[in-house]
Symmetry: C2
Subunit: 112 residues, 2 copies
DNA sequence: TTTCGTTATATTTGACAAGACATAACGAAA
DNA sequence: TTTCGTTATGTCTTGTCAAATATAACGAAA
């Protein structure tokens, strides 16, 4: 029975968190549902929490990550920008690479 | 102005956390002071919290990480075993390697 | 101008973790 | 057998964060 190594990574922009695993989940759910409120439901978090997260993401990012519309047909909605989609893909890639890297490093401890 | 990437790693042993950054700090402080209570003071955490952390570490590890003695000359004390010292060194090494690895990976996002 | 479902925001409530405090257990040495 | 500083453990309070609740703002379309 050997040990397991786990990690959590996040990206910051001048003191503020830009992206973490939870935020990426949220962005993916927005992409799938086309709306922040539906995304919140699918993730089983309150709308308020989802909105705060998304607001923080957009305030920390260099360029807009989502475009939110209020009112109008269907009440509005939210969708990812090109930049937002790229961020999600890049983050996932980095995260997976990190896991693989750490699994190799773990041998140093399991062999003790 | 570019983004920064941060990480936190930890090692688990069947559902329980064995090592994280805080626990490694504690082990280092024990090594330096020779006592759990002094280590707690130097880290500015309560003795109880320190004891709970150390207890959890020793229960999760395959071999003992510290040897604690109660009573006797000076009231007792705590010291790292060989295994404990190796764990601390290996963890630090993995952590530093992880940072370097992630800094490289971050370029994928900064170039977007 | 009324309806609708969404985004946007404030306020209150509740749960859980952290901290403070208290004290028992211990064993070598004087 | 008394003293001492440590390890070991329980209990209660407090602070913080999440959750629940409520509601305002909005704009296209009927």
């Amino acid at each position: 029975m050997s040990y397991k190594i786990k990690s959590r990574i996040w990206i910051e922009s001048k003191n503020n968190v830009l992206l973490g695993e939870g935020r990426v989940h949220l962005l993916k759910a927005i992409q799938e549902t086309g709306s922040l409120s539906k995304a919140a439901k699918s993730l089983n978090i309150s709308y308020k929490k989802a909105w705060q997260l998304l607001d923080s993401v957009n305030k920390s990012a260099k360029k807009p990550v989502t475009i939110n519309s209020i009112g109008g047909k269907g009440g509005g909605g939210a969708e990812l920008t090109e930049y937002g989609q790229s961020l999600v893909i890049a983050f996932d890639e980095i995260n997976k690479n990190c896991w693989a890297f750490l699994d190799k490093q773990l041998e140093k401890i399991n062999m003790l």
